[in-house]
Amino acid sequence: MNDARGWLLHLGLLAALVLAWFVLPAYHTGNLARILVLAVYAAGFNVVFGYTGLLSLGHALFFAAGLYGLGLSIQHVGLGVLPAFGVALGVSALIAAMTGYLALRTRGVAFMIVTLMFAQTGYLTVLYAGRWTRGDEGFVIARSARTLFGLDLADERIRYFAALVLFAIVFLSLAAIVSSGFGRALVAIRENEERARLLGYDVQRIKWLAVILSGTVSGAAGAAYALLFGYAGATFASVQYSILPLLWVLLGGAGTTIGPLIGTVFMFYLVDFASEITDAYLLLVGLALICLTLFLPRGIAGELRRRALPWLP
């Protein structure tokens, strides 16, 4: 990041998250641990959607790849946490590379459907391989298996900071990437693909790399989710989990670095708050989404950037 303000914002946000542990009540820090992992997923999606302008409806495939990559490695192969995490990253990257290569032969709505189809295939395969994955029911990863360097990852404080560390790494890395040449190329492709091609960029290859990056980050989120919360199930590979990051990113601000976190926090507490008021909380969520897209179309961070803070990365 070239802009000092950008660095200040990012580091400040991370510092605030560290402080949050000591200041917020247990309920909110418990939620935040979950939110941070999901925000990593949203950030991964943001690479492909927010920065490259590709609407993928199949990111649940990558999240699940990470989830099961780690889960199955620990459960059936008996790997330790770090090697299992490595497997998860490797599997997600590989799947992203393969499906991305095929899907990128299409554009626009066809791309949407192809990615959706690949994700559906993943979901159905998880169900089909029920002998190992336990299908929709899923399986529990024992607490004893979820330790890293002797630290119990199920402990509240350790879990929170593990999630925060992962988020920080992803957050800062992506911030650096999007302000690098590669990141600017992504934006160029998003804005006008033809022009980017005419300027000499290998558009297909760049898009493919974006998909791999996006898929790997999403996979990391999936692996972290299984690791920190001890459960892997087919639900996480379903269509719903492809739509959620899209929602989070759109609400928070696509194409901004803080957007994914804002969107995830916002959606989580919107559902939480609405379910306190009424049984029909999804109605409130639906209305909120409609209002948001009517009045804040660029998402919260996006509007902020447009109206007040143009330097927002």
Binding site: L55, L102, A103, R105, T106, R107, G108, V109, A110, M112, I113, V114, L116, M117, F118, Q120, T121, L124, T125, L127, Y128, V239, I243, L246, L247, L250, L251, A254, D279, A280, L282, L283, V285, G286, L287, A288, L289, I290, L292, T293, L294, P297
Partner: protein, 313 residues
């Protein structure tokens, strides 16, 4: 069951799926082709049609002692109209205000999806409720069998269909022909096609584009609702029943080729029949995996779909 009758039965069942799918997807194709937006709530219009059909036929039965046939005919008229009104309202209130922007429409229609689902849950309830068919008799189908060296017509065990199912296929064909006539041979159809081809040019010719959009959106919803009314005596009305039709409709529309209602119908037939046939040979989940991958591959190698022109978007 022997292979022959099994295949024929599968094709027959596939035809019913295809018939209903063709109607639903035709509605989506119109919206896609003319408004160029992704309506994620399209499946909910389908669901509304089924729920309203239940409501109409039950009210008529309870209040006026009307038989299932009367209730069904009333539902056939009222449900699509009412659904169209809901759609037009959504268009007026939301879609028009966001200028039919593709991304914002996705978020808005996701919000609409939640609103419609939850509203239905609150009023209709969580259970699946049946609607009685206007008529329904089992028809055993004959099959040539070799008995004592001679060919005779036998009635294999379980090989049959029902009169209502055949009716559904017929009704869908009639409606689709009506749609085709509307598009090809009426002024309204001409206006719709003109708006689809070139919105600005159409406006220049004095076509009230926004009104056409509202009409098309309503018509699209009505078609989906009509498909649902036809199928609800076979299935039940349930507040979550919109998910599958949404997914399938999208696939069919993209495979058929954006903006080609004819292509959509052909794709619906293909997909409906394939689904039935593949299940003859493979277990259901495996069949679904194969079907899903097939769809993806068709699009990867022919992104414009089977009948679409190679569009730049």
């Amino acid at each position: 069951m022997e292979f022959g009758p099994h295949l024929v039965l599968a094709l027959l069942e596939g035809s019913i799926t295809a018939a209903v799918l063709a109607l639903t997807a035709a509605g989506l194709a119109l919206v896609f082709g003319i408004l160029r937006v992704v309506n994620v709530a399209h499946g909910e219009f389908f669901m509304l049609g089924a729920v309203l059909a239940w409501f109409v036929s039950t009210t008529l039965a309870d209040t006026f002692g009307a038989g299932p046939a009367v209730g069904f005919v009333a539902a056939l008229i009222i449900a699509p109209l009412a659904t169209a009104l809901v759609a037009i309202l959504a268009d007026r209130l939301v879609l028009r205000r966001i200028g039919y922007d593709p991304e914002r429409t996705i978020v808005a229609t996701i919000g609409l999806l939640y609103v419609l689902q939850q509203a239905t849950l609150m009023s209709f309830g969580p259970e699946a409720r049946p609607v009685e068919a206007p008529f329904n008799t089992r028809i055993a189908l004959p099959w040539p069998e070799r008995v004592n060296g001679e060919w005779v017509l036998g009635y294999p065990w379980g090989f049959g269909t029902t009169s209502y199912k055949l009716f559904v296929i017929g009704a869908a064909v009639v409606v689709l022909i009506g749609l085709w006539l509307l598009l090809r041979h009426t002024t309204l159809g001409l206006i719709m096609r003109a708006t689809e081809q070139d919105r600005d040019m159409a406006r220049a010719f004095g076509i009230p584009v926004t009104r056409v959009y509202a009409l098309v959106f309503g018509l699209g919803a009505a078609l989906a609702a009509l498909g649902a009314v036809l199928v609800v005596p076979i299935q039940q009305a349930h507040y979550l029943m919109g998910g599958d039709p949404l997914l399938l409709s999208f696939i069919v529309v993209i495979i058929g080729g954006l903006g080609s209602v004819g292509g959509t119908v052909v794709a619906a037939v293909l997909i409906g029949l394939t689904d039935g046939v593949v299940s003859v040979f493979f277990s259901a989940t495996l069949a679904k995996i194969i079907a899903t991958l097939l769809v993806a591959m068709v699009l990867v190698f022919r992104p414009q779909g089977l009948f679409g022109r190679a569009l730049s978007r």
